[in-house]
Symmetry: C2
Subunit: 337 residues, 2 copies
Amino acid sequence: MRIQDVAAAAGVSVSAVSKVLRGAYGVSPQMRNRVTAAIEELGYRPHTGARAMRGRTYTIGVVLVELASPFQTEVAQGISDELDNTPYQDIIVTAGTSPKRQKASIEALLDRQVDGLVLVAPWLDTTWIEEIAKTVPVVTVALHGSPTTFDSVVDDERLGARLMVDHLVTAGHRRIVHTSMPPGESEGVFVLSHTARRQGFEQAMRHHGLEPDIIETWYSEEGGHRAALEAFARPEPPTAIFAGADVAALGVLRAAEEQGLRVPEDVSVAGYDNIYISTIRRVSLTTVDQSGHRTGEKCARLLLERIGGRTEPKQFVVAPKLVTRRTSGPPPGGAEA
Amino acid sequence: MRIQDVAAAAGVSVSAVSKVLRGAYGVSPQMRNRVTAAIEELGYRPHTGARAMRGRTYTIGVVLVELASPFQTEVAQGISDELDNTPYQDIIVTAGTSPKRQKASIEALLDRQVDGLVLVAPWLDTTWIEEIAKTVPVVTVALHGSPTTFDSVVDDERLGARLMVDHLVTAGHRRIVHTSMPPGESEGVFVLSHTARRQGFEQAMRHHGLEPDIIETWYSEEGGHRAALEAFARPEPPTAIFAGADVAALGVLRAAEEQGLRVPEDVSVAGYDNIYISTIRRVSLTTVDQSGHRTGEKCARLLLERIGGRTEPKQFVVAPKLVTRRTSGPPPGGAEA
DNA sequence: GTTCGCCTGTAGAACGTTGCACAAACCCCG
DNA sequence: CGGGGTTTGTGCAACGTTCTACAGGCGAAC
């Protein structure tokens, strides 16, 4: 089933069919009708590989770190939904946090001639991203900075961290520990989520006249668990732990439970991301929400604009929202802990 | 950067480079060396679109219902990991439960000339799947039946349901409610997970001389919640609820909490899937484990075999495993409830 | 009635691979 | 040293699309 067959069936030239397919200029209504009828009747579908040789593939590549991260999959879902009634199809690949594998995944997508690329929290040298952005439209998610050759969508994570610190301080907490991650090797002017959150935490704490207290582990259940055990073992343990990510907060909750600490009576626990688990009654974690779905939608729109011809870079900032649930409250002994 | 450039750099013909690339027969070691050196030096990467015109694309399409389903993403991860050091790249698309959108997604993948297709829990007419399996290797996940034109990997979900019923009955439960879903329109000889689980439940209950009791809602938090409320409102409420899926079990837990019922003292709750949430301390749900990761690995291997030339269909059954945690125990009043 | 410009539609040359068909070189054996 | 077979390397015709360049027709304006 080739374009040629459609042309034959409609009694027109191959070029004419191609024009109709691409919505190009110079097509009379009656020809358009005959061609679309023929396409319909034959059930013709364009061969993407052949298209890739000359023009567009109508494919958007989405690079995620991992599918287990709810925020990332929400972004992907947002892209998918936004693209739903366009001719574009999104395809997802997972790349892990290793820069080497990430690079390989992106290259695999470039080999497949995607028309656009969404990089969610890329652990990559930004100069390399700038490089590929010369070839194909790119939008990054959760990369803080001011890129000039590509677009970006970020949650204002410094603000988000500040909201959380304000919430805890207002409740009376003074000794607040933040769990973070080691900065990526490739972070410089451009910075990833965890660094932005840490910076927001530090800023907000100082603003309240408090000394920022950070334990560096990993954004994972295990990482949160380790950080919490370390914090609890101190002579003066914190009255609140603000984990850099909800997954880590889960580990903090486990550690608290193991140590016989009640939450929030003995210690308040908070996270960041508002992942699905945090919403369920049994967990009910105080956290910061950044809508992955809206982020994804925006990415898709930016990409379509770029494909449509825009060249000046755009940056879109999503506002974070504090979500207070049942894991946070006043410190033991009240506001004067 | 074309194959031609590589040929020129290596001082050989284009065909020769192609042979090396494809690992084809008739290549001397020294030519292979020169060509690979040239490829390396130039950083050449084959153009997938051009390949699609003639041969393989080295791309495996993975169709998931949604990224929010942990089992499905685990399968995808398993595929990805298994493919990691092969020349094949997996790409994921999400298709939803609507047969129409699923069909569109699969077609989008076929347009892109994938070399193989993994369909995870497809809500589709199996004759249509048989149809596309004529064109491209297909392996389905969680489709119970005996396909002749494609491969399949299934968890023995009837057995899994039986394990759970045995567990509950042994603990002393007699009034057990199972929450299920309406069977798909396209289910006939071939059956999806929820139907297999329901069948396993029915069989196991009868085997114990008990009447199967099923409430049909949806595999979702909300669905489980509704089913549980209905069950609790009965004159003789069940002492155990075996939700067809962990997500639904979460809704059951919420309903129990709202009704002031303690778990497992007043009512036991169990699920199926062993999703990540179920493992966290705060939830600790009794469930049945089916390893999504192993399932995915097997899918990839089956597909590679098919691409390698196998034609007779294979079916692979993964054994489910009962995971007892803290949401199940003896019924109130002991074994003689 | 000629000229000019616009509007429709077409021919055909790419695009970068693959793999068949074939040629050349080589090896082994009688 | 001739003949057969095998191994190694090459030429070239696809594959299905896009899009430029161009031809022909038609209408308006003079």
